[in-house]
């Protein structure tokens, strides 16, 4: 059993957030990823048991959403935005550069298990294009070179911090716990806003 009694208590508290227990499927799937690294059969069985559902019902939900992984990803999961705007601004070149640099294809994982790579859709940071996400933290205004440096820093065990996020990049499993709604105490770290976010405000204060 991969789950401690403390884990089970956490899962129970997640279920209790909702007026109806089935609503807890998504955070519970994030929680399974925080313990196992991906959604495996045991995790699906456990959620089904906790929510009195069939495993097929949980599986149907798990397979609909792209953030739930059915096979292990890297300790650092890197997503390169290749939706139109980021792609045009350089995202396509970054993605190609990273594939070559890491020797993996889309959805691939490096042999040391450190980095996995995926092309992603618009991540709501277009004024910081081209955007790279790592464990769903923002790495803004990337170039091919800066993205290669970023994945190198991950493979050497000392990942560069996000540009808008906590002071250090935490692991995939740790981030999955945050997405399950568990507070990791890092909300106050990092910038409140980057320069593009503040541009209009700055201009208006300067009275231009």
């Amino acid at each position: 059993m991969a789950y401690s009694s403390e884990d089970l208590a956490t899962m129970d508290s997640i279920i209790k957030r909702y007026p109806r227990s089935r609503s807890a499927i998504m955070p519970l799937l994030h929680f399974v990823q925080s313990r196992i690294g991906f959604v495996n059969g045991e995790g699906i069985e456990l959620i089904a048991q906790l929510l009195t559902l069939e495993a097929a019902e949980v599986s149907a939900v798990a397979t609909f959403y792209t953030q739930y992984k059915r096979t292990p990803v890297g300790e650092y999961h890197v997503g390169v935005c290749t939706n139109t705007l980021c792609a045009v601004m350089g995202g396509d070149a970054i993605f190609e550069g990273l594939k070559e640099h890491l020797g993996v294809e889309n959805d691939g994982v490096t042999s040391d298990g450190k980095v996995s790579l995926e092309h992603i859709e618009c991540n709501a940071a277009c004024d910081y294009a081209p955007v790279v996400m790592a464990n769903w933290e923002f790495y803004d205004n990337q170039t091919v070179e800066s993205a290669k440096d970023l994945v190198d820093s991950m493979r050497s065990g000392n990942p560069k911090p996000p540009t808008r996020g906590p002071d250090t990049l935490v692991t995939w499993k740790e981030v999955s716990a945050v997405l399950a709604g568990i507070n990791d105490g890092k909300a106050n770290e990092g910038l409140q806003a980057g320069a593009p976010t503040l541009l209009g405000l700055k201009i208006s204060k300067e009275g231009k």
């Binding site: 998504m26 609909f64 709501a124 769903w136 409140q192 806003a193 593009p196």
Partner: protein, 428 residues
């Protein structure tokens, strides 16, 4: 004088703007105090009078939406905040929640009171971890300060990567623990929403606009904007502009004015096409620089204000490559429930991939339009309508480029020319 009027963004430049201390320092939670002392119907009336319209894309009057909730029905009512910001180009709710999550919490308290809901849910997309942290912390701090837990509960719900969950009924299915697939309407969420109970679904920016309206009054809000589009809003400029970013202005500002603030198109280039409100809104060109960016102005010119996500592309960008990429996105994000969307977007991608490689005939352009005609309006939700918008509008303005590419039997543009790296090199 600048046309910018920061209301939502007023204190974003303070380092601790996301904390409850900073929010309270600037009068935070006074609006909810005032609203909770008012009759719920009076709150709804005030928001109706303000003219606030939904900032998530459709522009439906917020107060009217609240007014649709049946009263005295002895049912649970729910407030659901759509924070699943995923429309390509849209990047306003994410920085808002990162810089000032408490204004959203306070807006929820007011809205929940108005619609007589005890529970509110904030559904945030799962790909923005730090935003999740900030909102989660804000909820905790609001409980500690006693703003929550006395009649109004807020639950944070994190998505898991599905654009379709930004569609309000798909969002509700997702929140109920199902695959995120849209529902047939009617019934609308106001009658049968979350758990089949009366539910209001509002966008982040709409809800975040409410506290200032309560404090400053409907007349103040009415004094900004245009005849039918009141107040201020966040315009997000991205792409080939010198200085991309967020610009909060009264509704009705034009792209020409915004471009001036953003330093213009990047050096040595000119505007080719742009989206007024995300990729689902038909594109515009340099003919449309002076259109007032309000709900009516953009609609009259054949597009939609949408999320005010102004994605700017210069003359180095292939329209076919841009449209293909958006179409691949819609194909990937189609939930598969409705056949025209599921199958149609797949075929659109096949044809556009060929056209992007310069393969095909003029007949393929007509086939694209025919397929679009069989998708739009024939599915449960607006994803299908959004999917055809870039194709139809690009053929309206750039049909010749499609033909030139076919005559060329290959791409007319080098993708490297449109990247930022090129201009960085040129400038170095």
């Amino acid at each position: 004088m600048t046309k910018l009027v920061p209301v939502l963004s007023e204190h974003w430049d303070e380092k601790d703007s996301f904390t409850i201390e900073a929010y309270t320092r600037h009068g935070g939670y006074k609006a909810s105090q005032k609203a909770l002392a008012m009759d719920p119907d009076a709150v709804i009336q005030l928001v109706k009078d303000s003219g606030l319209r939904g900032r998530g894309g459709a522009g439906f009057p917020t107060g009217m939406k609240w007014g649709f909730i049946p009263q005295g029905d002895n049912k649970e009512h729910y407030l659901v905040v759509n924070a699943d910001e995923s429309e390509p180009g849209t990047c306003k709710d994410t920085p808002l929640m990162m810089a000032n999550p408490h204004v959203l919490i306070e807006g929820c308290i007011i809205a929940a009171h108005a619609i007589r809901a005890k529970h509110a849910f904030i559904y945030i997309r799962g790909e923005v971890t730090h935003v999740v942290r900030r909102v989660n912390q804000a909820i905790e701090d609001a409980y500690k300060a006693g703003h929550l837990g006395k009649g109004i509960e807020i639950v944070l719900h994190v998505g898991a990567g599905a654009y379709i969950c930004g569609e309000e009924t798909a969002l509700l299915d997702s929140l109920e623990g199902f695959r995120g697939q849209p529902r047939l309407r009617p019934p609308f969420p106001a009658i049968a929403g979350l758990y089949a109970m009366p539910t209001v679904v509002n966008n982040v920016e709409s809800i975040a606009s409410v506290p200032a309206i309560i404090l400053n009054g409907a007349e103040w809000y009415q004094s900004m904007g245009t005849e039918k589009s009141k107040g201020t809003t966040l315009y997000s400029l991205s792409g080939h502009v010198k200085n991309p970013g967020q610009f909060e202005a009264p509704l009705g500002i034009t792209l020409r004015e915004l471009l001036e603030l953003a330093g213009g198109i990047r050096e040595g280039h000119r505007l080719k096409f742009w989206t007024p409100g995300g990729s689902s809104t038909p594109i515009f060109t340099d003919e449309h620089l002076d259109i007032p960016l309000d709900y009516e102005g953009v609609a009259a010119a054949g597009s939609m204000l949408g999320t005010k996500a102004l994605q700017i592309f210069d003359e180095t960008t292939s329209i076919i490559r841009a449209v293909l990429r958006w179409t691949e996105f819609y194909k990937h994000e189609s939930c598969g429930k409705c056949t025209p969307c599921r199958e149609g977007t797949w075929w659109l991608v096949q044809i556009l991939r060929d056209l992007d490689a310069g393969i095909g005939t003029e007949e393929d352009l007509n086939k694209l339009l025919d397929i679009c005609d069989n998708i739009a309006g024939r599915s449960f939700c607006a994803l299908a309508d959004g999917a055809v918008a870039p194709i139809i509008s690009s053929l309206k303005y750039f049909r010749q480029e499609y033909l030139d590419q076919l005559a060329n039997k290959g791409p007319l543009f080098d993708p490297m020319d449109s990247t930022l790296f090129v201009s960085a090199k040129a400038g170095a």
